[in-house]
């Protein structure tokens, strides 16, 4: 009995991020994807037709579909990530749309944290610019497995193949430096609709997939390599007060499989106690499952009575995470209030929380030049290597191996704000050669 049903052809759900500024045609590209995949409804279209007309434009300006953020930015109100949705019938998409300007590193990191794929827009007339490098660096830093470089505005360079090829070789040289492996290139015109959903007739020399074809077939982050089983316990179900005597001894350990999978009958180890038991049953919505899959929220029952509470983690004894009170991390500072090295912060990692002190900040990375710089504190949008000392142990993997057990947030207890985003391990590979040489 399984609840996995793939009715016709269900490629599940893909989360992706679009990086670029309005000048690169990002809003137009999103608008084009929504429009050509028929995800725009009539009243929305009527509204943007009106606005287009008011602004003296002859054709519908698709960028107005995502204009909410834009208008706000001009007014200096909210600068943020907006989420948009569309479906093609075989796959559902969540687009994270973050403003592309320099000061918004934090928004891009936020949007990127849940993305499986990033579309990096390059204006064919401008080629690879500082912003392209910054976006690529951040997308890579946050571990997005697939990058798609969309060379947009091909209509403005007469659909010239040599322009596209030049941008591709420039980008590849830079990508190699960063250690980016999976990157693909598409020439397109979001304005005219070439190679977005439809192929159009202007790019006969390009034989590769359209953007939509890439989106329809891209694998999600968890499908990249075999991951260790990790289930952080969120909640323990003990319905002792139930009138049903069968439930008196029921202890269900509830949580989401953050990575890997586990089957009934397998041995698991509970952290931090280190005690082991066998999986007696896996339940979801009153049904028994033979196996719990990655990203599934389940309830696990064990053969032995072990004391387990929220914040504990179920793993396999053969693939233990690090159990540590010191972590070397890469942090993006999110708060307008700078980091204060003398303060104690709270770190939330999986379902655990611990107090943390800053042991050292070896360096900051300039997201434009990728240079390392000595720093004393961190300001909003800074990316830096930070070493923490922890009051309680965490069960960690390196972020490169596991985007769930390698990630954490930093909370300021005085305001309860989320002030930092952290990734465990040295994942800034930009200048690794230099580091090795030093």
């Amino acid at each position: 009995m399984t609840i996995q049903t793939h009715p016709i052809e269900d490629h599940g759900l893909l989360r992706f991020l679009t990086c670029g500024s309005v000048d690169d045609g990002k809003s137009t590209l999103i608008g084009r994807l929504l429009f050509d995949s028929k995800a725009i409804l009539a009243d929305t279209l009527t509204a943007i037709e009106k606005t287009s007309l008011k602004r003296g434009m002859e054709q519908v300006d698709l960028s107005l579909l995502t204009d909410g953020l834009q208008a706000e930015r001009e007014q200096g109100i909210t600068i943020d990530v907006a989420y948009r949705y569309f479906t093609t019938g075989i796959r559902k998409y969540i687009i994270a749309d973050a403003p592309g300007h320099e000061q918004y590193t934090r928004n891009m990191v936020t949007a990127a944290s849940t993305a499986d794929l990033a579309v990096i827009l390059v204006d064919a007339r401008k080629g690879v610019i500082t912003q392209t490098r910054r976006h690529s660096y951040l997308a890579h830093l946050v571990g997005i497995p697939h990058l798609v470089v969309a060379v947009n505005k091909m209509d403005l360079v007469n659909y010239d193949q040599s322009v596209f090829e030049k941008i591709r070789s420039e980008y590849l040289a830079f990508a190699e430096q960063l250690g980016i492996k999976d990157v693909r290139f598409i020439p397109l015109s979001a304005l005219k609709g070439d190679m977005v959903v439809e192929r159009g007739e202007n790019l006969p020399w390009y034989q590769g997939q359209t953007l939509m074809e890439i989106l329809e077939t891209a694998t999600t982050a968890h499908d990249e390599h075999v991951e260790a089983f990790r289930l952080p316990v969120q909640y323990v179900c003990r319905p002792q007060d139930s009138t049903n005597p069968e439930l008196h001894d029921y202890r269900g350990f509830m949580g989401r499989v953050e990575s890997g999978s586990i089957k009934v009958g397998e041995r698991v180890t509970v952290l931090p106690s280190g005690l082991s038991s066998t999986v007696k049953a896996i339940e979801l919505g009153g049904q028994s499952l033979p196996e719990a899959l990655t990203e599934q929220s389940v309830t696990i029952l064990l053969d032995d009575e072990i004391d387990i509470s929220r914040g504990d983690m179920l793993v396999r004894a053969t693939e233990l995470p690090n159990q540590t009170k010191q972590i070397e991390t890469t942090v993006c500072w999110l708060s307008e209030t700078p980091l204060d090295k003398s303060r104690t912060y709270l770190i939330r990692h999986t379902t655990r929380e611990t107090k943390a002190k800053i042991a050292s900040i070896p360096y900051r990375v300039d997201v434009n030049s990728l240079e390392r710089q000595a720093v004393n504190g961190l300001s909003m949008n800074d990316i830096a290597v930070v070493n923490f000392k922890l009051a309680q142990p965490l069960f960690t993997d390196s972020y490169r191996d596991n985007r769930s057990t390698g990630a954490f947030i930093v909370i300021d207890e005085s305001t309860n704000n989320t002030v930092g985003a952290g990734m465990i391990g040295l994942i800034d590979s930009a200048n690794s050669d230099q580091r090795d040489a030093a």
């Binding site: 793939h6 599940g12 949705y85 999986t350 909370i411 989320t418």
Partner: protein, 300 residues
């Protein structure tokens, strides 16, 4: 490497995870249940998250007193079937207390729900309210957090929201402050209907096509009810309609439809040409900024 979950399984797993985070992080949460389709999905998700245990929160409905009888009946029956505690607080009580003052007797009570909700939050000391809002409903919701922070006055400050990364939710609050948690943020109207179909969820009858007396007012269909009688000179016609959203009678319009089953509604939704709120919410059309303004004031 495992086969990816279908999109509904993924959305379900995410929502269960969020519900369990609220239960794990907050000391006194509540789930807002109106009898509408989104909160009906929330109840099924709560069953999947917490059964065979009881829900770690009661259900709360803020009743304007202007709800369709079918929906109120459904609300009470569903809560009883689940064996969970349902708290009802009414805008009429707030009016009696004098904390809600209508500009005129016919003013819609919809926006005044915020006052009654805040009073209930204070009365019970709730530190988190779980709601069925979705980001696809409206522009101002597209950037809403899954855990949305409200200050002591229930205000949503767009400048003071916590960044949300990975699936690490921060539902911490100080005394008097409040978190609004939206487990189905990432669902669309179509997802909701597909989930209702897959799970075989029961809905109030007014979601399905039925014949009802209607007057046309400012281009929208206004159902003729005791609360919203036809005005002098208005022509009452019987039309076959269904509701896409269910809320206060004074501000929820039906759509013309002959879809009388979930399957037909899904077919209609998949090919619909008008957004859910565009079609049915009489109150949002005033201005694009209408929703954002109401949210700042504590509206759900």
């Amino acid at each position: 490497m495992t086969k990816p979950l279908s999109h509904l399984d993924w959305l379900e797993a995410e929502a269960i995870h969020i519900l369990r985070e609220v239960a794990g992080q907050c000391s006194n949460p509540v789930l807002l249940f109106s009898g509408g389709k989104d909160s009906i999905c929330l109840l099924r998700l709560a069953e999947k998250a917490f059964r065979p245990g009881r829900f770690p929160f009661p259900l709360l409905h803020v009743d304007t007193g202007h709800n369709y009888a079918e929906v109120v009946e459904f609300r009470d029956r569903r809560a009883a079937e689940l064996g969970e505690r349902l708290i009802v607080r009414s805008v009429e009580d707030s009016m009696k207390r004098g904390t809600v003052v209508l500009k005129h007797p016919n003013e819609s009570r919809n926006k005044h729900q915020s006052v009654t909700l805040l009073e209930a939050i204070e009365e019970f000391g709730f530190d988190a309210c779980i709601g069925g809002a979705r980001r696809d409903e409206e522009k101002a919701r597209a950037k809403e957090r899954i855990m949305s922070f409200r200050d002591e006055f229930g205000q949503w400050d767009p400048k003071n929201q916590r960044p949300e990364l990975w699936s690490l939710y921060n539902a911490r609050s100080h005394k008097g402050e409040n978190i609004r948690a939206f487990p189905i943020s990432n669902w669309t109207e179509l997802d909701v209907w597909q989930y209702i179909q897959r799970e075989g969820l029961e809905l109030p009858s007014i979601y399905f096509a039925h014949t009802r007396p209607i007057v046309m007012r400012k281009g929208a269909m206004q159902p003729v009810t005791a609360v919203t009688p036809a005005l002098a000179g208005e022509e009452v016609v019987n039309l076959q309609v269904r509701f896409r959203t269910v809320g206060d009678i004074t501000c929820t319009a039906p759509v013309l439809s002959d879809a009388d089953t979930v399957d037909k509604i899904i077919a209609e939704t998949a090919t619909t040409t008008i957004t859910e709120r565009g079609a049915t919410r009489l109150d949002d059309q005033a201005s694009e900024a209408a929703m954002e303004q109401r949210k700042k004031e504590g509206y759900f």
